[in-house]
């Protein structure tokens, strides 16, 4: 028995897209001392399509694995399509996460959103998927919210 399933372990032990890139077009970071995780996503974007993504994460197995699948899943997607991805999609892709670790996947969703928000602001883009998104929202909110589950 293990805490995480094989797929999570694979993404955690051999994460995809770990590291940084030269001159990213967008960067977004998300995390807080309270949840104990911090994630930074860098994107290369061409014609509103994410052509490359990298992450740097300080966090547990679930945070690292979520970072890995999230960067993998947004690659090749339009910004709008990437914004539609939620932590649920990452969890599904990972084949599930243990209950107390669900919130770590929210981290990835939020970091992606922040990176795209960064890009949209710099380039004056109005994206449907960013409506209502508050980049300065208290980072602990999702944490408490999710822990109630």
């Amino acid at each position: 028995m293990a805490m995480y399933n094989d797929k999570v372990m694979e993404h955690f032990m051999n994460p995809h897209n770990a590291g940084t890139m030269e001159n990213p077009d967008a960067v977004g970071s998300y995390g807080s001392p309270v949840c104990g995780d911090m994630m930074e996503i860098s994107l290369k974007i061409e014609d509103n399509v994410i052509v490359d993504a990298k992450f740097k994460t300080f966090g547990c197995g679930s945070a690292i694995a979520s970072s890995s699948v999230a960067t993998e899943m947004i690659k090749g997607k339009t910004l709008e399509a990437a914004l539609e991805l939620t932590n649920k999609n990452f969890i599904d892709e990972l084949g599930g996460l243990p209950g107390p670790k669900i919130h770590c996947s929210v981290l990835a969703e939020q970091a992606v959103k922040k990176a795209i928000y960064d890009y949209a602001s710099k380039n004056g883009l109005e994206l449907e998927g960013l409506k209502g998104f508050d980049p300065n929202a208290e980072e602990d909110d999702h944490h408490h919210q999710v822990e109630e589950e």
């Binding site: 955690f12 994460p15 807080s32 001392p33 104990g36 930074e40 300080f58 547990c60 945070a63 107390p100």
Partner: protein, 389 residues
């Protein structure tokens, strides 16, 4: 793959000599020590020999040892027992911020009943201040409970001095010696200890058995109500095999104490030195002077603790973030917070404990692997020297 267990503070395997002594008590010698016939009376006499062995390890009298089901029970009993016994005298308890949850949660339970608890601060090495302790004492104080050795950072408290203060003020002194037993010399008389918690599974005995030393003259009511076992102070059919195992483990611990201390502290020092020289930005937490001989607690800055543990586990190395009991709850260590570590350092800290079965080869292997793991995790960490929360 090599398996390197470096978490002896979480629990220990049962030594062969210990298990061998236990085995007959499951089968032929299965009598209930309260029974009046042969196998029952034999069990009773074996029980009293076991008590004597545990007593010997700590310089106590056989009649001062009460077997319990674990260290946690001993802690609960000592504190709640004192609260009940002394309620007419007062309702104030002094403890520290770095106690085990068995102690802290018991104090919180009593706070809900109206007891007042002072949680003493500790310095950056994890030691309480004797002056603060003495200042905290009021007319209402009924108990001082300060742990002997901390389970996360291995810091040893000035037990003898605390004992003197307690005695001066005529206050009972309890110490949680679960991590101290078998690792530091203990003489309850010399140290002025009134009650002391112990647990077998930290000294190569079985899980599910512990003891509370209660000094002659100190009287606390039962925590477990029922039959007349343990001189009427702890009900429940005795865990004979467990108790026999505990006693054998205590006997071995007494015989090997100096050798054990020397061996594990040398390996521990080597391990810590290698990691702190071969890796940058590794901090040692706690106090190198007053420390559990097998314990080292390291902060691998910028690398996250759970990730470290899992990568280590994948390479066969077992260690932990803080105490085993809280590792599943993912709450940042209250001990590391109390010695002043910021959260990001808390999240990057690992406790290693060397034990009797650890070899030089084990340690060398662990060092190599840990260096690689830390470098890998730091390689894609969101944090570094320049950037943190």
């Amino acid at each position: 793959m090599r398996q390197v267990y470096l978490d002896y503070s979480a629990t220990t395997p049962v030594k062969k000599e210990v298990l061998d002594e236990m085995l007959p008590y499951f089968t032929e010698k299965f009598g209930n020590p309260s029974s009046l016939y042969g196998i029952g009376l034999n069990a009773k006499s074996d029980l009293s020999q076991a008590r004597a062995k545990v007593a010997k390890l700590i310089g106590a009298d056989e009649r001062e040892i009460y077997f319990t089901s674990c260290g946690t029970e001993a802690d609960n009993w000592a504190v709640i027992g004192t609260a009940r016994a002394k309620k007419s005298k007062g309702n104030h308890i002094i403890t520290s911020k770095i106690e085990h949850h068995a102690l802290l949660h018991t104090c919180e339970y009593l706070e809900k009943e109206g007891f007042k608890v002072t949680y003493l601060d500790v310095d950056e090495k994890g030691r309480i201040s004797l002056e603060e302790l003495e200042n905290a004492i009021t007319d209402e104080t009924i108990l001082i409970s300060i742990m002997f050795v901390n389970n996360e950072i291995g810091t040893i408290q000035p037990i003898k001095e605390i004992g003197e203060i307690a005695k001066k003020h005529k206050i009972w002194f309890h110490t949680d010696a679960v991590q101290a037993l078998g690792n530091v010399p203990i003489d309850v008389r010399e140290l002025g200890i009134d009650m002391m918690s112990m647990s077998a599974h930290k000294i190569y005995g079985p899980k599910g058995v512990g003891a509370l030393y209660v000094k002659k003259g100190v009287v606390i009511p039962s925590f477990m109500n029922g039959g007349a076992q343990e001189n009427k102070r702890r009900a429940g059919t005795e865990n004979m095999a467990g108790i026999i195992g505990f006693a054998k483990a205590a006997e071995l611990a007494g015989e090997n104490l100096e050798l054990h201390r020397k061996k594990i502290s040398e390996l521990r020092d080597y391990f810590a030195k290698e990691l702190t020289t071969r890796l940058e930005d590794v901090d040692i937490n706690g106090d190198m002077e007053h420390r559990h001989p097998g314990n080292i607690n390291l902060t691998f800055n910028y690398a996250e603790g759970e990730a470290l543990l899992l990568y280590m586990d994948a390479r066969g190395i077992a260690a932990s973030t803080g105490s085993a009991c809280s590792s599943a709850s993912f709450t940042p260590s209250h001990v590391l917070r109390a010695i002043g570590l910021p959260l990001e350092k808390v999240y990057s800290s690992i406790r290693f404990t060397i034990g009797d079965f650890t070899t030089k080869e084990d340690v060398d292997y662990a060092i190599e692997e840990i260096v690689k793991i830390v470098e890998k995790l730091r390689g894609f960490s969101a944090f570094n020297k320049e950037r943190t929360w």
